[in-house]
Amino acid sequence: MVLVRFAWARPCVPWRSLNASFSVFTFRSLSTTQSIQSDSSVPAARDGRQFRLAVIGSGPAGFYTAYRAMSKIPDAKVDMYEALPVPFGLVRFGVAPDHPEVKNCQEKFEEVASSPNFTFIGNVSIGTKSDHPDGATVPLASILRHYNAVVFSYGAAKDRKLGIPGEDLKGVYSARQFVGWYNGLPEHANLAPDLTQGEEAVIIGQGNVALDVARMLLEDVDVLRKSDIAEHAIETLSKSKVKRVHIVGRRGPMQAAFTIKEIRELMRLPSVAFHPIDKSLIPPDLKSLPRAPRRLMDILLKGSPTPPSDASNQKSWSLDFLLSPTAFLSSSTDPDHLATTQFARTTLTPSPFDPNAYALPSPPSSSSTTTLPSAITFRSIGYRSTPLPEFAPLGIPFNDRWGVISNDGRGRVRHEERGADAAMAMGAFPGLYCAGWVKRGPTGVIASTMEDAFSTADAIAEDWATRATSGRVVPFLNDDRAPGEVRGWEGVRAEAFTSSSSSRGGAVEKARVVDWEGWKKIDAAERERGRRVGKEREKFTSTQDMLAVLG
């Protein structure tokens, strides 16, 4: 064994000059050394079956689940489906362009994708008809026929609405759409937000997405220009007249969802002022607070180095608390366009300092409502996952209220139901798992999604290995089929092709499936476009342009 290891370690060339053939060699060596792996308690195959896993969605949840599952189940074959021709989900389309370091996790994803046991199937949507005309759609039922297990990690592609009057006025935008727009998401590439109607912008919601939107509006465009922000966003932002940003929440600073890093970034923006916070909402004795809220309150109290002034060209922002939006109002001169946002004041109970306080409407009085002038308003009150259309006919449980697939907390799809004896029991869904925002709701940073994805992958590996450890067999999809008959993407593709004459398939045949090599070509083309204008990358903002790279 020692000799084998030295044999593959021997080519003493600097890593930068290694070529692809060496990586193949490395993988071959892997299989020869696996027999001595002491921590590979999970058998590669059950009854001679190779584990075949479909991952729906190529964001961080999908990739981290694939990564962990592949390291826990040797020889597991993972096929990852992505509706767009390009991978990485919110790492590409959600992470702010001025946070390039957060995107470093893509290096790990590329490492996963380079395994011969991993297949990327881009431009193929599952169940939901692709939202772009060039994309293929495969029924979920077809996926269930060809894998041992499926992980739903398709995230949260919709956003919550306020449901108040005037939400459809011109000038009211969804923060999710705005984020997609400046990050070059094809779906929102044509959003064309109008930032020229006035100086005042209102953002409803106080999470990190709200702070990202505020930073895009306040940051020097020349700083953003060097990032991988979409070119159309630079054009629009450079014409922006917005100078004053209100970030509004129903509750107070002790309850706000933003995190300190994003607050600090806003505080540090050169020559951008922060309007001092309402100190009555901050506990007087900061020392008694736990570390994280103590540090956050401290930075909010300290404010920005640049004080607010009356200078006409100064940009500034504030956190406006205890305001619940009630209506978007237009002006008499332009009834179709937003002019002000109306809010009801709230009161916190049991106290403003309780992190779990509720916001109740204040008792009616002359001052119980207020309005903020709003040339533009962004609704930033959370993303929302939706069930795939086939969940209902297949009986896959989705919790509409929380916008998550019902699961056991570790990602096994489960549904609580009342049995014949009137006791509550968990209904099981063999072979179905979920990870990421569709599992736990749209919150948390990439580190949270990683932990979450790992717990799902660990559950999958445990379930697959149960026979080896306990003699009990956890059922998976297609257990009744002979080994070798569960063929993954090969089976799905064959089915989609042969059924092209029928009504339910055929889309794969017409549309172009983008494999990992295809993505690398698109990636290279984007980097080349970026190089020409001094950016790391200039993204393609339409699926046609992405696919055109592939000829």
Binding site: V2, W8, L18, Q37, E101, N104, R264, R410, A447
Partner: protein
């Protein structure tokens, strides 16, 4: 250089725990040997390190496919010079101790990754996530380290299982004063276990 010679040279400075198998010993030998063979300058600045981590290749330590990138190709873990070894002990999530001889200037994330410990470093060591969170076991050692800056503290605020002596591994650089350092990897948080439902 024959294998027995290598082992003889390397073992005295490794002080491996009894849990480790011969195969794993060989792994360490390989790491250090390879690093000797292909030295690359250690990037002292954060920016440099981030760039250096961008490995265009997938290369994996055989122990677990896709575990962590190998030290062989990062090139920024230097083998310690004889007589200048610094020792650091990692206590993993299962409670097992792993002691390594390292060089001055190595950071804990790089050391953990080079030795196949379960530490991710999702942001590539640029202090933009909390996945390389470690807990320093002795207050005395914690006090010897330069204080965490605001950016590191901001990330620690989001870390699972934060403790008074928590640090980000990518920001802790080994110095002679830290010789003998012991750090613990925080155990993963789990929301609910399946047994809660059965």
């Amino acid at each position: 250089m024959s294998t027995p010679n290598l082992l003889a040279q390397t073992l005295p400075i490794l002080r491996l725990t009894s849990r480790r198998t011969t195969g794993v010993i060989a792994l360490h030998v390989r790491c250090y040997t390879q690093a000797t063979a292909a030295p690359l300058p250690a990037g002292p600045s954060r920016a440099l390190r981030t760039t250096a981590r961008r490995s265009p290749l997938a290369v994996h330590i055989p122990k677990r496919p896709f575990s962590v990138s190998s030290a062989v190709f990062h090139g920024h873990i230097q083998p310690p010079k004889p007589g200048e070894e610094l020792y650091v002990t990692f206590i993993d999530k299962e409670g097992a101790e792993h002691k390594f001889a390292v060089s001055k200037g190595d950071n804990l994330l790089d050391i953990a990754q080079a030795n196949d410990l379960e530490m991710e470093g999702a942001c590539g060591g640029s202090c933009a996530c909390s996945t390389c969170h470690v807990i320093v076991m002795d207050q005395e050692y914690y006090d010897k380290m330069p204080e965490p800056d605001d950016d590191e503290n901001d990330m620690l605020d989001l870390a699972f299982g934060l403790q008074e002596t928590s640090r980000l591994g990518c920001q802790v650089v080994m110095t002679p004063e830290l010789d003998g350092l012991r750090v613990k990897l925080p155990s993963m948080t789990r929301n609910l276990q399946s047994k809660d439902f059965n």
